[in-house]
Symmetry: C3
Subunit: 267 residues, 3 copies
Amino acid sequence: MDMKATTVDCLETIRTTAPLVHNITNFVVMNPSANILLALGASPVMAHSRKEAADMAAMAGALVLNIGTLAEKWIEAMLLAAKAANQRGIPVILDPVGAGATSYRTRTVKHILDEVKISVIRGNASEVLSLAVDDVMTRGVDSSLSLSDEIVDAAGTIARQHGCIVAISGENDVITDGGRVFRVANGVPLMTRVTGLGCGLSAVVGAFCAAARHDLLTAAAAAFGFYGLCGELAFETSDRPGSFFVAFLDSLYTAGSAEIDERLKIE
Amino acid sequence: MDMKATTVDCLETIRTTAPLVHNITNFVVMNPSANILLALGASPVMAHSRKEAADMAAMAGALVLNIGTLAEKWIEAMLLAAKAANQRGIPVILDPVGAGATSYRTRTVKHILDEVKISVIRGNASEVLSLAVDDVMTRGVDSSLSLSDEIVDAAGTIARQHGCIVAISGENDVITDGGRVFRVANGVPLMTRVTGLGCGLSAVVGAFCAAARHDLLTAAAAAFGFYGLCGELAFETSDRPGSFFVAFLDSLYTAGSAEIDERLKIE
Amino acid sequence: MDMKATTVDCLETIRTTAPLVHNITNFVVMNPSANILLALGASPVMAHSRKEAADMAAMAGALVLNIGTLAEKWIEAMLLAAKAANQRGIPVILDPVGAGATSYRTRTVKHILDEVKISVIRGNASEVLSLAVDDVMTRGVDSSLSLSDEIVDAAGTIARQHGCIVAISGENDVITDGGRVFRVANGVPLMTRVTGLGCGLSAVVGAFCAAARHDLLTAAAAAFGFYGLCGELAFETSDRPGSFFVAFLDSLYTAGSAEIDERLKIE
């Protein structure tokens, strides 16, 4: 499969159709997530009331759930929205922010996975692997771990267990459905020094999945690659976090087939 | 009426008196709304608890209600704040974000309009016209419509029905009280690719109304014109959304009578 | 005491250990507070659910409470988190945003001070002095007051009354434990034209206190000095609020011992 062509296709579809991406996400990243989606060419909407979450999700091209600043009523809204999305075959992305850090978050993510069908789980290694079966957990999992074979194996186990795609961000990213495995080498470390760039990637995965519903695995991998190369482009403008983020938004808006052809590193 | 002089007067009043603008607004735009008001020279405050909403509104120069990330308790706080503002003759701006998209939002906006006196409704065409009488609705209303005579007529009907000013953002803006009609030709399309710039305009209309309570119609038109020309100035610095927004905040802070004299397009 | 050496030490500790700073803060500033902490080198987390606030605080190097967009359930979460922090000797910073403006806020701050042990109160003069005994209040307190001897005296009284450090931002800052008094002359007026820079300073005080728990008074003074000099550095890049804030984040990331040696003004 030619991932460069796939990525260009997804991007052009997003820019010509501006898919609606419904986010139920945390307070810290609502603003940058919306700006990231707008710069990319998608149409963001944030709506968390239980009175409209299902209505909004039913209209969307993708639904993105993010547990970063969790509260009870929001979980109910997430489930209502996800059920509406599931009924219509709309992809649902789950970002398990901080899973593993408190038992409340870990329990909540498992509850969501039990109640609704998730298309893609997108997080860092420690978040995602906190969802793994116990014998994996006890080996000790840390977000600072490199994406060893052991982690790739655990990601595949989670993917098969939940019938979803597992996408782990790190120095190198891994995206797998439990069968095929994509590895993405794009991105720069400074992306971890701007708040919301991980959550923003989950939103962008949503936009790419909305644009290519027929193959969510390649769509998710393409999202990771494009997002990372926009970080590389921004880093050429600035190596400092304030001006880097400004340049990153600019890159999401301007980068296209030439940049993808030159820089995309997915295998 | 000399709209350039009016706009300069409003701006100077804002910059010398720093009117308090009380916002009960959505999570996505709280931060940019506050920064937009500060850059302009106003004093923003955000407060949504039912325990203080009325107290805060009573101290303000204007109250701005925005339903972007709606929830039940917030609606109650909006009504308490608006009633306190109504009692004191403080202008109340309503931004019906997403009205027409879900029935919950449309119902909520109509409920607010029934319960309290709104001074200015500020939204895009589809949001505002979702409030119109049914026979207008069934003709089909879309935010991509240009501001045809039909839309201007519908805006006037809504304005007369609610005894308020209706201000519609679009490629050309229309501001009417159901009698007089102002058309504003300032602004650039890139403003739609930064989240919160519509909501920020509602906040700026609040600041201008606080500065010129004797004529809210011209104050609202002046706000639209000044806001749009700051967008034009920013676009001369950057045609990319990240750096455009930074330049836009800078323009709100620096633009003055020279820029107004040269660029304001209100008729 | 050599405050320059202290400031360099704190900063290096932050950058090498990345202390976790748990914020229960207002919606307007969550994003810039997280970005300010990340640029500085600390690890921010925001968590306000009563179901995890205590767990999260127990893991943190410092807890920062900010009442900027207050609501009942958040106050309960603040108390749960602060009690968990108190049990473990984790510093707790309180930012009494808007205290004195509404009775709800003033009452809430006094309730927090009654229920839990606060390490540092950080606010402007009118906010902090609204907490003073009644005979101080009746003399009239305004945020526009310069930090007169009278205000320094009142700050000392509050510090002794609550057994905490009182840190007041203004044209010149005052930080006192009721005995020693530090005065900080760093900073630029444009910092008041960007939303959340006061709240961001409270978060940075949290990071410095996490890095130097043995002497919170000097840690707080060092935080004020470093934060102000980063404002000065940013102002050399831009005198306009949008680009100033971008440059400010960049300065928090890049400024070090050379800038501290050249610019720090604490006595």
